[in-house]
Symmetry: C2
Subunit: 308 residues, 2 copies
């Protein structure tokens, strides 16, 4: 068997990259030959975390090398978020904390999903179940992933289990949880240096909902105006991306990580469904998403429902 | 929250019923209010096992009572094998050992799949992980499920883990593994009293493969001629069922559980795909399936491939 590659979703965030690195470390300790790779370049937040714990950015791969290659998926399962050619891969295992959809195999496999705040929390449990020690750098990147996905425990996706695990990982990683967490989150919020496309696509995922292909981007900031001041050029770029990729809907969620609040920008043909999903009106492409910080828990479910 | 119902697939076999009973027992010990139900009446083998360990046949339900009802799935995940109305259920968790396909949720959930020989082997691991004791009757029905799915450890789906777990469960259940196992398997092989439809549909599942809806039945016997002597009426019934249900293909796998060998009966429009899948010819609806005992591992994957 060739070396097994392990990767998170496209447009990788800290949990996608961190869980690939940690799960590969675990599998290798258990005797397999695996390698963490990434389906794209990490953002500033993730790079800050990798640097802080002296870890290398995983090799970037874009498509499956050969049909039938063995792979392991972390932090995603929907094929449209996965490596190009995933339909032809031999999927050996999946570790994930998202909804399950558009996923299919011919053979039985290991599939471990739990409704926790981050995939790294599940990977942490797998370390414990297999009685494998967590090194300082691996503990550090797992902690970073939990902080990232939970916005330092403020997201409704965060569970008491995540918070407990993060405490233990902070000790292993030898950092002060709050100081390190805020520094890491801030490192990812400097949007002024991003192009419009980078703001939109930096953390965007595609979802099939009803008959529509929906693209949902999310950008974290400390001041929503930093993004809204570029609204006109962003809308223009969203329309361009939608036409080029046949998106029925493009929604950008701009999240204030300190205030735990979001504002949405939206283009597409089914705006009434968006209004229905969030029970509020859209004015000139803009929609208030009060208290929304989690795409997975507060955006995808109501939109899926409204479009089905 | 209303009482959570837990069930295996339609046309329940011993693993579907046994894992529902055992998983419900576990969840209740963990503080939830759950009830094992069945999506149909158990066969003779399962009834033998239930009787032997003094367990009641679970209540039979046919459809989801109310949209949004909380459910847990065991021993299956494909929606067409599940309760009518599953699309509207709130699926809290799945424990399964089959391939994953045609499964979708709006929300994150617990999904635990492992490529083991029986769902009850995974449920056994969950008992251990949660440090819950297994009672004699629960141990007995879990053992019965492993024996059933593995045909007393002869099936290629059986792993060393299943065999180890069965040994421990035999002690808990206080039975001699081989004696009890053969008695239980034989209890399910008296086909003379079955109608043609009961032979075909008693353990049949539907699969979406490529563009086709494929129905695959399996019947265990100690002499394949017990079924083949009724070939003409069986073929007639298979054609009737295919027309009524729009099956593109109907395959009955007749398995000799002592010789670990099967013969197939097949009707449908894509017979070349079946010949390709098993690399042998069909003569007058009959095909030799040498060494085949596992639908999941030796029938579904090659057929899926040939039809895709």
């Amino acid at each position: 068997m060739s070396e097994i590659i392990i990767f998170g979703h496209k447009n990788p965030d800290t949990d996608a990259i961190g869980s690939a690195i940690a799960y590969s470390y675990l599998q290798n300790k258990l005797g397999l030959q695996t390698k963490a790779v990434a389906l794209g370049e990490a953002g500033d937040e993730t790079k800050y975390a990798l640097d802080h714990f002296g870890l290398q950015h995983p090799e970037i791969v874009e498509r499956l090398e050969n049909p039938g290659d063995p792979v392991m998926l972390v932090d995603h399962n929907e094929f449209q978020q996965s490596i190009d050619g995933i339909e032809d891969a031999e999927i050996l295992s999946v570790v994930d904390h998202h909804r399950i959809a558009n996923f299919e195999t011919s053979n039985p496999l290991n599939f471990r999903a739990e409704p926790l705040g981050s995939t790294c929390s599940i990977v942490y449990k797998l370390f414990k179940e297999n009685q494998i020690d967590i090194s300082q750098d691996i503990g550090g990147i797992m902690l970073s992933a939990i902080i990232s996905d939970s916005l330092l425990f403020k997201s409704p996706t965060c569970t008491p289990t995540d918070a407990e695990i993060a405490k233990d990982l902070a000790e292993i990683a030898q950092v002060d949880l709050n100081t390190y967490g805020l520094d890491m989150l801030r490192a990812g919020t400097n949007v002024d240096k991003f192009t419009e496309e980078e703001i939109l696509e930096g953390d965007a995922k595609t979802f099939e909902m009803g008959e529509s292909t929906v693209r949902i981007g999310q950008v974290n900031v400390v001041d929503i105006q930093d993004v809204l001041k570029r609204k006109e050029t962003l809308i223009h770029e969203m329309e361009k991306l939608s036409t080029a990729n046949n998106y029925g809907l493009y929604l950008l969620v701009i999240t204030d990580i300190l205030e735990s609040n979001s504002q949405g920008l939206v283009v597409g043909s089914q705006l009434e469904a968006v209004e229905e999903a969030f029970a509020t009106g859209i004015e000139n492409h803009e929609i208030a998403l009060e208290g929304v910080v989690s795409r997975k828990k507060q955006v995808v479910p109501p939109l899926t429902e409204a479009l089905s």
